[in-house]
């Protein structure tokens, strides 16, 4: 089986890789590019642990083929912080103790960033429904939702300055 040559921009960097036609974007990220921050919890699009942002849109990378990444802009959890400056969602997850095991955390953070990018002032209910595609078995979501709403508030305050 021949491999396909794919070019994509991942976390701002132009990248090229070879992938088999059946490999998902998640397989490529994790196994070919060693970007293991995106997690595989189900490979059926139900848990959201593999959430990435493709051309501004939140997707489960397990539901997209690697070859479909050609020419796309892809953001993963590894690209959210700028150097040693965490993204506000990341910082608020730490401050609110919004993670326990931390496995669903990259997907939740990517999904929350996509939410705030689209809706800078989400209500609790909007945040809960937006994040309903990201399973967390540890926290009961309480501190997760608090962290996301607090991050959104902080980003609004920063934008207003």
């Amino acid at each position: 089986m021949s491999k396909h040559h794919v070019s994509a921009t991942i976390n701002g960097e132009p990248m090229e890789f070879l992938c088999e036609p059946q490999q998902t974007l998640l397989d490529v990220l994790r196994d070919e590019l060693l970007l293991t921050g995106s997690k595989e919890g189900c490979s059926s699009g139900d848990c959201g642990a593999c959430s990435v942002i493709v051309d501004g849109r939140l997707v489960c990378s397990c539901l997209m083929l690697g070859v479909e990444a050609n020419g796309r802009l892809i953001q993963t959890i590894e690209g959210l912080a700028e150097g040693d400056k965490l993204h506000p969602v990341q910082q608020k997850f730490l401050e609110h103790a919004a993670l326990q095991c931390g496995f669903c955390t990259p997907g939740l953070i990517v999904a929350a960033k996509a939410l705030i990018d689209e809706n800078p002032d989400p209500t609790e209910e909007e945040a809960r429904y937006w994040l309903a595609g990201n399973l967390c078995r540890c926290t009961g979501y309480d501190k997760v939702i608090r962290a996301v709403l607090d991050a959104a508030a902080e980003m609004r305050a920063e934008a207003a300055q």
């Binding site: 609110h96 326990q100 669903c104 009961g140 309480d142």
Partner: protein, 762 residues
């Protein structure tokens, strides 16, 4: 030394950011499936499609001929292990059964039971090889449900299981592996004395721990037998111990490195993949990575038992319980060992009752072998007992919390399973619940409020910790327990508190099996208790050593040195007049005063304080759809002393959410052939963010005098009350009692309007 009476704790009780936090919010943290090694190949498991079948033959020739296949293993590659008990994981495992659960011998006992495994150059090649392995089965009759499995004519899973705990010893094998009994007083006389007797039957379905991270490992075995296991588990020493026995290797030849663990809840206190990866690596000479799919996690790893709970409560008209009885029947899955023993002990632990009889049945059936799940056994019993308590309260027209307060176990109460309680906070949780604003808030139409309580023992046991003062005065603490929910933070906080240094000067590390002494699993709500005790004791030894080093520097007696706020001082004017020496000063001079400053402590912690909780839930019922909305939830719990309150709240909130899933949606659905129909998160529905409200927490602190800071385990008891709490709220809302879990929309609709269901059936 105890810090219970210390007037001002500077760090314990605060909420610092966890030391491993940045790694976990940036994707840097390395979980079970995240490691790759040079030359690594991929292992996959061939699983039985039948619930019960004799394995007649396995032909691996075609698979072996596939290019890229490097090794194939079957049961024939594993040694026979004697059926001895090994207390390595959370519950005693029978090593022979564990070995046969990892790889079937003779018979496949459930759909998903491993019968062979391959390792190949890529996951895709390994998958293709699985299809080429030919297994010939003789399909046998199977039995799924607990009472069907108990019947005398049920298909037998094992011809060498004879019911333990009955007299005389049975002559015929049975699916009933064990009968347990706990009794107190005279149950018949007790019920004769009762003015009201309520007798009800409840059932629960098996539910999965549903950690989001599937089981995963990388194992590399060298030609001389030395082996490294990198895996996600609740205990690297558990992985090492079980793997060594199942594959027949010396413990010293195995180094088990704990990856970060993506949730466990008890389900990662045993091994599934590591022994297979070991054999594949040994055969191929290559490092082997194995990762379960979600489907495999559901089909082949342990849920907790489904059960039948038959409760009988006898009380006086004023609510005083005079006799309580329960019969518990728990599914063990394919091998003996359901948590019915724990369930039996927990059933009435919260109450002071003179006459108690508990009978529990441990029953094998053709389902995956159950594994520990958060307070194993207790939530099943509590669903029955706490629902029945609510039915009793309604019958007597008593406030359900008043009924519980009236019968609450207190210090000095002798529990039916043996212990006499001391320093317990059950009544405190009931009283605190009654005082909440939540409990007093009025309800609207189709809304109801329920309460229920729960108990879990909490565990102590073996733990090790090492505290090293580094050359620059920073501190490294090495512990032996995987950090599953923030325990690194708690450990660092206790060290910093005892040493009197800032929290961020202490770096905690979870050591591999060669870096720290034996430590039991992260389970039983034991880490902050037992691990915390080891860490505290090790730090105290370091403080003693620091005082000695200051004494050497000043040429005075160590007794004349005082340690406070991270510095050595002369204890008084008689000791002499010296400038204080900081941790950094003493660390820098360590070579001149005797060498590196470190201490390692191993202990077997006793005196885990019992955990009690009382929960309040408001629901709203949609009569059109049968949907139950959780409007409001408050969890009250005796936490001993919260070392890091945010992570204690997190445990309470997480337990509640899991319990709500168990109550409302989660269940295994099998077809008539014993094949699981919902092995994925779409159809096995765990709570999502939009299902839950904020979860209010009330931390009651009744310190545990056996722990230096008063901690008691907090992780498990919060999953005990929710099922009954929700059921009691539903009964309050619509006047209909649901006694079978899950209380899913179809079940609720049928209860609200049974006519259409009946009409459809006719």
């Amino acid at each position: 030394m105890s810090y219970l009476t210390k007037e001002e704790l500077k760090i314990v009780g605060s909420r610092p950011i966890r030391p491993d936090g940045v790694d976990k919010v940036t994707g840097r943290a390395s979980f079970g499936a995240d490691l790759s090694m040079p030359g690594m190949i991929w292992g996959k498991v061939k699983r039985s499609p039948h619930a019960h079948a004799r394995i007649l033959s396995i032909n691996t020739e075609k698979a072996a001929a596939l290019p890229g296949v490097k090794a194939i293993i079957t049961r024939a590659d594993f040694p026979d292990v004697p059926p001895e008990k090994a207390y390595i994981g959370e519950a005693p495992a029978n090593l022979r059964d564990l070995s046969r659960n990892c790889m079937a011998k003779g018979k496949a006992l459930y759909e998903g039971h491993a019968v062979a495994a391959v390792a190949a150059v890529s996951p895709a090649v390994a998958e293709r090889a699985l299809d080429l392995i030919e297994v010939e089965y003789e399909v046998l009759p199977h039995v799924m449900d607990v009472e069907a499995a108990m019947a005398s004519d049920a298909p037998l899973l094992h011809d060498d299981v004879f019911t333990v705990g009955v007299d005389p010893k049975p002559q015929k094998p049975s699916n009933i592996a064990k009968v347990v009994r706990f009794a107190k007083g005279d149950i018949e006389a007790g019920f004769a004395e009762a003015e009201v007797v309520i007798e009800r039957r409840y059932t629960t379905k098996p539910v999965h721990q549903a950690y989001i991270e599937p089981h995963a490992c990388v194992v590399a075995v060298a030609a001389d037998g030395q082996c490294t296991i990198w895996s996600s588990s609740q205990g690297q020493f558990m992985v090492r111990g079980y793997t060594s026995r199942i594959v027949g290797a010396d413990i010293a030849d195995i180094r088990a490195i704990p990856a970060e663990i993506g949730g466990g809840f008890g389900g990662k206190t045993i091994v599934y993949l590591e022994p297979l990866a070991y054999m594949l690596s040994k055969k191929s000479g290559r490092p082997v990575k194995m990762v379960m799919s979600r489907e495999e996690v559901f089909r082949a790893s342990g849920p907790t038992s489904g059960g039948v709970i038959e409760v009988k409560l006898g009380a006086k008209r004023d609510g005083t319980l005079v006799a309580t009885q329960v019969v518990l029947k728990y599914q063990a899955g394919a091998f003996p060992g359901s948590p019915v023993n724990q369930g039996s002990m927990c059933a009435f632990a919260a109450y002071d009752v003179p006459n108690v009889l508990v009978t529990g049945y441990d029953v094998v059936c053709n389902r995956p072998k159950v594994a520990a799940y958060r307070a194993p056994g207790s939530p099943i019993a509590a669903f029955g007992v706490e629902s029945c308590m609510d039915e009793l309260a309604r019958e007597l027209k008593l406030d359900p919390l008043a009924l519980r307060a009236k019968n609450a176990a207190k210090d000095g109460t002798k529990a039916a399973h043996g212990p006499t309680w001391a320093n317990i906070g059950y009544i405190n949780t009931v009283e605190a619940a009654r005082q909440t604003e939540h409990y007093k808030t009025p309800l609207g139409p189709n809304q109801g409020r329920g309460v229920a309580s729960g108990f879990w023992f909490n565990a102590g046991g073996e733990s090790s910790a090492a505290v090293h003062v580094n050359e620059d005065g920073t501190v490294t603490v090495t512990e032996g327990h995987p950090d599953i929910g923030g325990s690194r933070a708690s450990m660092a906080m206790m060290v910093a508190e005892v040493l009197g240094v800032p929290y961020d000067r202490v770096r905690p590390v979870v050591g591999d099996t060669t870096a720290i002494g034996f430590s039991a699993v992260t389970g039983g709500s034991r880490v902050t208790f037992a691990g915390g005790m080891a860490v505290t004791r090790a730090t105290e030894r370091v403080v003693d050593e620091l005082k000695k080093r200051a004494a050497i520097t000043w040429d005075i007696s160590p007794e004349a040195v005082e340690w406070k706020e991270g510095q050595a001082f002369p204890a008084g004017p008689n000791a002499g007049s010296f400038e204080p020496l900081s941790l950094g000063d003493l660390a820098a001079k360590a070579a001149k005063t005797g060498g590196p400053i470190s201490a390692e402590v191993q202990l077997n912690a006793q005196g885990a304080g019992p955990g009690f909780a009382t929960h309040i839930c408001d629901v709203e019922i949609d009569r059109e759809t049968g949907f139950v909305k959780i409007l409001r939830y408050t969890a009250v719990q005796d936490v001993g002393r919260a070392i890091h309150p945010a992570y204690v709240e997190g445990q309470m909130q997480g337990g509640v959410a899991q319990g709500v899933g168990w109550a409302l949606n989660e269940e295994y659905i099998y077809d008539q052939n014993g094949r699981l129909e919902n092995p994925g998160f779409l159809d096995y529905r765990v709570p999502v963010a939009s299902d839950m409200p904020m979860i209010e927490t009330v931390m009651v602190e009744v310190p545990n005098p056996r722990h230096p800071f008063g901690a008691r385990g907090v992780g498990e008891v919060p999953i005990v009350p929710p099922m009954a709490t929700v059921a009691n709220a539903i009964a309050d809302a619509i006047g209909i009692r649901l006694r079978d879990l899950p209380m899913s929309p179809p079940r609720l609709l049928a209860a609200l309007d049974p006519e259409p269901i009946r009409a459809a059936a006719e």
